[in-house]
Symmetry: C2
Subunit: 275 residues, 2 copies
């Protein structure tokens, strides 16, 4: 695939674009192509749309902490994105963002924006040892091996997802005993990663219960995404770990490293347990 030098034309930038609407808010066009199956739009994608609106009202350049509550699944199509700015200073700025479709509010986000630098980490979690991209398993190319009834969602056509073979057994009919998924991620049109992309990557893998052979949908209730550094060009390594599963609730942690091995983002989510 050719390198796309004009990032404004990438699928991700087009799908997350916001423009000023009436009443000091923003409007967006939610793209049906970023679904996780069944017409449900990916939560990380929606969070990136909200983050873009927060940045448009912030003196800072990057989303560093986003807490999103998913109220209902919005429909693809026109949406409004209201930004209520909070205190803003030299180090960071706060805002509350509400993304709504015709049915009402769908996602509320507490957004902290700041300006990330190239400073090296004083301490960070090292990148796990994973085979190179070429030795990993493409989800979209193995769609025919997926469990019956599982269509390949739009999301994995827009984000190339290459699973570490050690966590890819489920895609070939052999599930594991551990709720862990690791994959190299990159936009299919080679648009390079940046903090906004990391917000989508931080919720872009299938539910970790897939690794254990449970293929039900696990709707996110609340997610926190932290962007910790500016990612280098190239593939990002994304690791998702399921935590405690109890009383109908499940939590998952994501850690993301860039192509140089630097830790660049983290997320923590509470979801309803997969059915």
């Amino acid at each position: 695939m050719p390198q796309d030098d004009d990032q404004q034309t990438s699928a991700f930038d087009a799908a997350t674009a916001v423009r000023r609407g009436p009443d000091r808010g923003f409007v967006a066009e939610l793209d049906p192509g970023w679904d996780v199956g069944g017409g449900i739009l990916n939560g990380g994608y929606l969070l990136s749309v909200a983050a873009r609106a927060a940045l448009a009202e912030s003196p800072h350049e990057h989303p560093v902490a986003l807490a999103g509550s998913y109220l209902r699944a919005p429909a693809a199509g026109p949406a409004t994105v209201a930004v209520a700015p909070g205190p803003a200073g030299r180090t960071l700025a706060h805002a509350i963002v509400t993304l709504s479709d015709a049915g009402g509010a769908a996602l509320t986000v507490q957004a902290t924006t700041a300006t990330l630098t190239e400073a090296a980490a004083e301490r960070e979690l090292p990148m796990p040892d994973v085979p190179p991209v070429g030795d990993c398993v493409s989800i979209s190319e193995h769609a025919h091996l997926a469990p019956p009834g599982l269509a390949v969602p739009g999301l994995v056509q827009r984000i190339e997802t290459r699973l570490d073979p050690a966590t890819a057994g489920w895609a070939m009919g052999a599930s594991s005993g551990e709720p862990v998924l690791r994959a190299w991620l990159r936009f299919a049109d080679d648009r390079e990663p940046d903090p906004l992309a990391l917000v989508t990557f931080a919720d872009a893998l299938p539910p970790t219960s897939f690794a254990m052979g449970r293929f039900g949908w696990a709707p996110t209730v609340q997610i926190q995404v932290l962007v910790r550094a500016l990612p280098a060009p190239g593939w990002c390594l994304v690791e998702a770990r399921g935590g405690t599963l109890a009383g109908g609730w499940h939590d998952e942690d994501y850690t993301i490293w860039d192509s140089t091995g630097r830790l660049v983002a983290q997320s923590h989510q509470l979801a309803r347990a997969p059915r």
Copy 2:
């Protein structure tokens, strides 16, 4: 200390009480005794006040996911707590809570409430092996050994904090190389833990940088607290782990188990790096 059977009279319940004020909001009296030093009120304490207001407007009994953004440190004394209810159903309810003092908004919280049950976990992180409470190190009793200039804050007079000796070296002048703290926690007046108490416990240890001999204050910017189960009576074990420290930002994860070894709460926070 005698067992206090009337939980309404406990220091925690009194300090987190909210009552309906004018304009459909709530009013609270922020108690100066829950400080972390320098007159700064503990973030977990403030979050519990906000959670109590969310519960007062919810059909559900327990806070299960709270995302809080700390805008500024509020003063002790009168505060208002405004609750904007979101969608509410049989499984969960959403709300946005704003806690303000005379200076304006200090804390905004996305609160998801639900009703936790006694159901056993299908999978959970096991409790680490820690010496019994009697073999652990009381922070308040070792205050005289604290680094110069570090007063014992009100928080550790209200929450008995017994450090695992393996992570208590810093309190006796011998810091470790790892940003990890583990401690048994219980209210000093023996008020038993419940989901609201866990919200305070989820931010009740000193900064994990203390374990490494760095005693600067590390103000929380955003925290997510997940309450996963109803805690049994008795001491809770709280483990705090520092994560990545880079570009002036630091993250910390908390995991909390009850006296039976059950995982009952988790938190994830982004803080400014300790000075």
